[in-house]
Assembly symmetry: C2
Homo-oligomer: 475 residues x 2
């Protein structure tokens, strides 16, 4: 399944570049069903790594996995007024089952608050059953008019965590904890993506939530990607689904819920955070193969191939690829694995063998090092760490470089149009927020947690404001 | 979430017993959507263990994971005539999406041959692309009129493997390999379930297959559970979806496909293979927790609790439960963990502590052993092995005990009604097979691989037959 996709330069056409590098790396493709993608083995292996790491993080937060039905009675969604209003335009509806028209239509879950809290209403009886912390790894369907691989697909894979707590305060803190202690460090340490964390505005929050918190990451074209969200649902769904518990003082109380999720969209984020004109660049911690080993030999078996094979066994823990194909020239191999973003390449030719050396080439910088045989394992380990750090540093630098503190509307428009993002004052008026979006396509990505309290005047309306918010274009 | 379900004795009402033990062990429950179950954390943990083990087995067979769309155009299913005939009564059909009636209905995958081979037709070009070996872990929907938890649910979780090969022979061998080298040993060694493997008759084979192979396991009530199937699809789907490759001699050839799957139904199989009147019994290799540690103490902290905690850390690799609840009496704890089928219980009381001993109790036999502190780890290791072996031996014994070689129709009916299964001659006539099913509810589970060639006369029609087949009632 080799593939010779030519990659459009990033600077020339970012959207086409994105499409090209995904094809070139063999991550995913459009299926015959509009809006639904096929995640190919290499793309899926990245998702499995994301899943594995997050799963162990959730466990540390006391979360257990379970599985809830794909199909939800339409009337369940209607129980929470904001929820159905938000999701109604995106639903896929099953009207026939087992050869008969259904008396009651079922929707394919766009998210599972309703069906899960229906279960919680059976599971929770007393304060001893709280907190209840559940997660599911599942597919969801949200009808998508302008699909793009990973970023916007009608079906996508995700995890959705759902918890129930005895108090409003505890729920809010848990929603924040998942964002700050799981999603943010995961994005930074594993995906090497710099993050702005904060709260969504009323117009951008989850349909049915009291508050939504998010991590926002910046793509190389200056647009944001909302990469993970955590919702404080307060008692909104508990009231709709009658989820109550007997408190220690013997009274019936509603629980307070949180829900939180990340999806296969993160893979799109990885691509647009780190990729370059040669293809995708994978952070070592999430790369299916951390190194590719290429013996430079014209025949096999050969001394070179044997030595390279030994190296392969030596480096087993990095799940290396051993590319000893004879019908493909070394240059083509390099090109192929660069497209796939393998963090490190080890080359071994006859001269290297004679000198007891190998060549190591970094994907992120292209830097070449010649390393003594005995030091290979240590060098590989160090370089992988360096690559991981360097990718995060680059991402942090991008986030700094593209930031503009702006105090006039003219500047605002100019900076947004120049592909930057803006820290500006906003008074909290949703109508102004909408107007800004209509005029510039910039939305408030979040009200950042880390912002000095600073009095000012709204960039558009001139009304008094207490802090700057993050405006930017987004996927 | 404690629960006080009373368990109906197995001998009194097997179906009710099954329902009761699932509730008592907190494995799963019916949801508000008829036919769709909620898999609760303990049940899901078993599925995760099944998944993890099978996944590593598939990898050894050169299989890669990927993910394909949930929604399939209805016309795709119609491309293979037998396939649509078989699945049409079970389909869930989406007719609305994004607020509009769809011009073309989409079905929720009941299985994914069609959408996957559609992708294969884009992925496969030359003989170099073969064999192609793909697996997906996914949910599927088959409308179910008589739902039962795990055994028959409208939605279930499964894996479906799909491969493409250059020759008919290679495909057939691969289908057999998955059955004999993966499914059968997995069922025996991990699930401790004895297996009859063989070929399905024409009437019982997969809709669209040339041949279906299956592993059949015997439940404690004498009924079979089809526990895994592997299909030789020949070129049936390759022709329907135009999956062709350029062969080494330069001609265009159709590929040959296999598909194979096991599902959450296996959990129902585990329950009905090993469970007893106290609850479920889990084979150690698949149990989420292999041991529960119960300090017998009236207060905490105490010397006993401290010593038990030490034991807990010492036995960490068995993912032990540490049950030091003070508000629950030891007897109740024993009862609770027996219901949940935890293979081994470790009790530690003040007397044991004084004597440097612990008590170990096996879930399968109820046998109690007193073990010196220093030997605990070794004893636990050995007992878990013993339990695993014993469960398989019991399952093998059941398979032998319930077998009847039968040569007259009267005997056949008597043995089937007595809850046994029958090895009898059958000439291959589908009409007779149907007639037997109508009269006795017994179906041909398989034409077993391991059967002496033996000439005889069909048990019902008297027509000549070349080997005995396995007749039995089944889930």
């Amino acid at each position: 399944m080799s593939n010779n996709t030519k990659i459009t330069p990033q600077a020339e056409n970012f959207a086409q570049w994105y499409q090209d590098v995904i094809t070139a790396a063999d991550l995913a493709e459009n299926s015959s069903v509009r809006g639904c993608m096929v995640i190919k083995p290499y793309g899926y292996a990245i998702w499995e790594n994301i899943r594995k790491e997050l799963d162990s993080q959730f466990q540390k937060q006391g979360v257990e996995n379970a599985y809830f039905p794909l199909l939800i009675p339409e009337k369940f969604l209607q129980k929470e007024a904001e929820h159905i209003k938000g999701f109604s335009p995106e639903l896929a509806v099953v009207t026939y089952g087992g050869g008969k028209e259904l008396t009651e239509p079922l929707v394919i879950r766009p998210t599972s608050e309703t069906i899960i809290y229906d279960a919680f209403s059976r599971w929770i009886h007393s304060y001893r059953d709280l907190p209840l912390r559940i997660n599911q790894w599942a597919n969801v369907v949200r009808w998508e008019m302008r699909p793009r691989l990973f970023l916007r697909t009608t079906e996508f894979l995700w995890q959705e965590g759902h918890t129930a707590h005895a108090t409003k305060r505890e729920a809010r803190q848990y929603a924040l904890k998942i964002l700050k202690k799981v999603y943010k460090p995961f994005a930074e340490k594993h995906l090497a993506m710099a993050v702005i964390d904060g709260q969504k505005t009323e117009s951008e929050k989850f349909a049915g939530a009291l508050s939504t918190y998010s991590i926002e990451t910046l793509m190389r074209d200056g647009k944001f990607l909302q990469s993970g969200t955590s919702h404080d649902l307060s008692d909104h769904f508990a009231k709709a689904f009658n989820v109550r518990y007997l408190s220690e003082d013997g009274t019936q109380q509603y629980v307070y819920n949180t829900s939180w999720g990340v999806s296969t969209r993160l893979i799109g984020g990885l691509v647009m955070s780190h990729g370059d004109d040669k293809g995708i660049v994978l952070p070592p911690k999430i790369a299916p193969h951390k190194i590719v080993i290429v013996p430079i030999a014209n025949s096999a078996p050969s001394d070179v191939t044997d030595a390279a094979k030994k190296m392969y066994r030596h480096l087993k823990k990095y799940n290396p690829i051993f590319d000893d194909r004879l019908e493909v020239r070394p240059g083509e191999k390099f090109y192929e694995w660069e497209k796939k973003g393998v963090p490190l390449r080890l080359e071994l030719g006859p001269k290297d063998l004679a000198n007891n050396k190998v060549v190591l080439v970094r994907r992120d910088t292209g830097e070449k090092s010649i390393v003594a045989n005995d030091d290979v394992k240590k060098s590989v380990e160090n370089m992988l760490k360096d690559i991981q750090n360097n990718l995060l540093l680059r991402s942090q630098k991008l986030l700094e470089t593209k930031a503009r503190r702006v105090d006039t509307w003219d500047e605002f428009v100019r900076e947004i149009n120049a592909g930057n993002y803006v820290l500006a004052h906003w008074s909290g008026d949703a109508a102004i927020e909408r107007q800004i979006k209509e005029e510039t396509k910039a939305t408030i990505r979040c009200i950042p947690f880390k912002a000095e309290k600073e009095k000012g005047l709204c960039i558009k309306s001139g009304k008094p404001s207490r802090q700057r918010v993050v405006f930017g274009r987004a996927y």
